[in-house]
Amino acid sequence: MTERVQVHEPFVDPAQQHAADMLGMYIFLASEIMLFGGLFAVLFVCRLLHPQEIAAASKELHLWIGGINTAILLTSSLAVAIAVQLARQGSRRAVAISLAAAAALGAGFLILKAVEYRLEYSDGLLPGFSTASKFANPATHLFMNIYLIATVLHAVHLSIGILLLAGLVWKLLRRSLQVPKRASVIAVSGLYWHLVDVIWIFLYPALYLIR
């Protein structure tokens, strides 16, 4: 099972390929930032138009669940960052373990998020889904709609991230991904994971901590 450092067609050397992969991923992340940025813009404009109502709605959200989830994602990012360092040193099993830990933390986030949706549903917070709505005011409805769209979009991104990490773990265990030769693959995938974390870092205060 010896593997050459794979250099794809247009590249002439691995360094060039790594640089291109990193740049490509960073540019992709820039476009992801713009995607979520549109939602943030919508959120801030609504907040500007209805400051009181939206602060009131925000207070109804489960601040502590969101906080724990933030901590979970930050920890998962740590695991991914460690995995990248370990990959450069070539400890295959340790890389697989820390990536698996990160993916598991991500899954934990999703489970907790599902619990939170469930609570919000029974509280009558989720518009359109709850039978008896707690809010009479359209602006609070609006806020809950934006909350739902933003968190679901984030959850979709996180799920993709979990699949990505799980795939890497699988390949590492099957030895079809070699470290440290292809540590670059783990670094580039890690970037995506961290961005999903960064987006949550902004979503959390923007949604839960409006006062």
Binding site: Q16, A20, G24, F28, L35, L49, E53, G128, P138
Partner: protein, 555 residues
């Protein structure tokens, strides 16, 4: 595949076409001739051809909608189309022309073909991503065709809320989905170009030696990557608003309809530069080749592409001067819109200066380039008129605006597209076409275009609103002129496809460099071999390094 095998399959021996050349036999065109070898290729040149075919298809679909509209506008009454029919025609015309023709036109065909050739690379940085981007484009295209068959959509290409989110009865969600999908194709293409231009330049191909077409594509790609996601999320919100009534753009639910316009134009104004920047790059190439001289002020022309892309993000509010935007914000946007005219002006003046003391050729590509400059000047300066606040209050949403952006997008981008087609066709196909027919179609397009759209400036100032097919009778004469021009234009657009297609078999072999131009793409055989360069080129010379004849002087 062996090349012998291909000779049999690729041409019918009974035809008296010119026999296949040695270059063709080893070219990318003959590297596999099954349908699968095209549909699953990762060769940027073949993907460019795939785009060329699909983009051309949508150009004629969008053109058909325009034909219906112009025919209906012959008379002040509605006699060809119903109200609904007309609304659906202009919506589809806009959606198809903007997202399925203009935005992908030059970048995805000529950009795909030329970026690696011009910078001396084997392919784009992510070849499979490039193919994926074509499939995404086609998926979006299929949705659009489905919308067309299912009865169309009647919101205008701008999808303004609350009309689109609550009142329109067409297939708004499907149409938004189509545009949403095609957006990802744009993002992936932009990403691919940026990484390629940064990381795959041949040794010696410094930023100061990059062809200006590459500079303009780089600027375009920045916009593609940074602006398109905003459109995606906005369209998703429209769909959510329509399906679930979330209320973001609905004032009775606490939302703001103007927020939609901010988001939409934050994408769509830069999108105008997505459409025109590649055209500016093409014209820089063509002007230099036409004059056989280096482009005057290379640094300014290159820098102005980047400046246009950057300032282009700061001006979107000029679409909202009468929309209820704050007057102070309007004043800021008006000022910034004037600023974006400066880099555009630099380009035009520099092209003119390039021609000075040149060896000017009037072959078809160069005629297209010169008509581009003329039409772009008219379009650009009428754009400055529109940026003037009080004037815009009068002519906003009238035919003046329609004429203005058609001068930029049709007079500008489409002329450059045809210019590029005539310039690089011998490279792409390896055959020469009839120059006389080329000159004729360039002249016809210029004539037909002006006859179609110049009367619309007058109509607009007279007060003819856009998106009207019933109008006061005093506007009829100008409308008839416009329709007459459109019929010339329609024929003129079809013409090149006949003689270019004809040249594929009957044209003379082009040779590596039929225009005697500089640039790496002309240093390899036509059509290019599958692997582009036999060995990785090293660049040692400045761009547009034409030999200037100092000695030829007597008067």
């Amino acid at each position: 595949m062996t090349s012998d095998h291909m000779v049999d399959a690729a041409s019918h021996p009974a035809q008296p076409g010119i026999a296949e050349t040695a270059e063709e036999r080893v070219s990318y065109l003959r590297a596999g001739h099954t349908l699968g070898s095209w549909l699953f290729t990762s060769d940027h040149k073949r993907i460019a051809i795939l785009y060329f075919i699909s983009v051309t298809f949508f150009f004629f679909v969008g053109g058909a909608a325009a034909t219906l509209m112009r025919a209906d506008l012959l008379t002040p009454q509605a006699d060809l189309l119903s109200d609904e029919g007309y609304n659906r025609a202009f919506t589809l015309h806009g959606v198809i022309m903007v997202w399925f023709f203009l935005i992908p036109s030059i970048p995805n065909t000529f950009g795909n073909f030329l970026v690696p050739l011009m910078i001396g690379a084997r392919d784009l940085a992510f070849p499979r991503l490039n193919l994926l981007s074509w499939y995404i484009y086609m998926l979006g295209g299929l949705f659009t065709i489905y919308v067309l068959i299912a009865g169309g959509v009647d919101t205008g290409w701008t999808f303004y809320t609350p009309l689109s989110s609550m009142f329109a009865n067409g297939n708004v969600v499907l149409a938004a989905t189509a545009v949403f999908i095609v957006g990802f194709s744009s993002i992936l293409t932009g990403l691919n170009f940026i990484v390629t231009i940064h990381k795959l330049r041949a040794p010696g191909m410094t930023w100061g030696r990059l062809p200006l077409f590459i500079w303009s594509l780089y600027a375009t790609s920045l916009i593609l990557v940074l602006a398109t996601p905003i459109l995606s999320v906005t369209l998703a919100l429209i769909a959510a608003e329509r399906l679930f009534g979330i209320g973001v753009f609905n004032p009775s639910l606490g939302g703001d309809p103007l927020l939609y316009q901010h988001l939409f134009w934050f994408y769509s104004h830069p999108a105008v530069y997505i459409m025109v920047l590649p055209a500016l790059g093409v014209v820089s190439e063509l002007v230099a080749a036409a004059a056989r001289k280096p482009v005057f002020g290379y640094q300014f022309v290159a820098g102005s592409s980047i400046a246009i892309a950057a300032i282009g993000f700061l001006v979107w509010g000029h679409h909202m001067f009468v929309a209820g935007q704050s007057a102070y914000a309007s004043a800021i946007f008006s000022f910034l819109s004037l600023a974006v005219a400066v880099p555009s002006g630099i380009k035009v003046y520099n092209w003119t200066a390039t021609l000075y003391k040149g060896q000017i050729s009037l072959d078809p590509p160069f005629l297209f380039a010169m008509s581009f400059i003329g039409l772009f000047v008219v379009g650009g300066l009428t754009g400055v008129i529109l940026a003037m606040l009080a004037v815009d209050v009068h002519v906003h949403d009238t035919y003046f605006v329609v004429a203005h952006f058609h001068y930029i997008m049709v007079g500008g981008t489409v002329s450059a597209y045809f210019g590029a087609l005539h310039y690089w066709w011998p490279k792409i196909i390896g055959r020469r076409y009839s120059l006389a027919w080329g000159r004729l179609s360039a002249a016809l397009i210029f004539l037909g275009f002006n006859l179609t759209f110049f009367p619309q400036f007058l109509l607009g100032y007279l007060g003819m609103p856009r998106r009207y097919h019933v109008y006061p009778p005093e506007f009829q004469v100008l409308h008839v002129l416009s329709t007459a021009g459109a019929s010339i234009l329609g024929v003129a657009y079809l013409l090149p496809f006949t003689y270019l297609f004809y040249s594929m078999r009957y044209g003379k072999p082009a040779g590596a460099n039929p225009w005697e131009a500089t640039g790496l793409e002309w240093s390899i055989p036509s059509p290019p071999p599958k692997h582009n360069f036999a060995e990785r080129p090293t660049v040692t010379r400045a761009p547009y390094d034409y030999t200037i004849e100092y000695e030829e002087s007597d008067d």
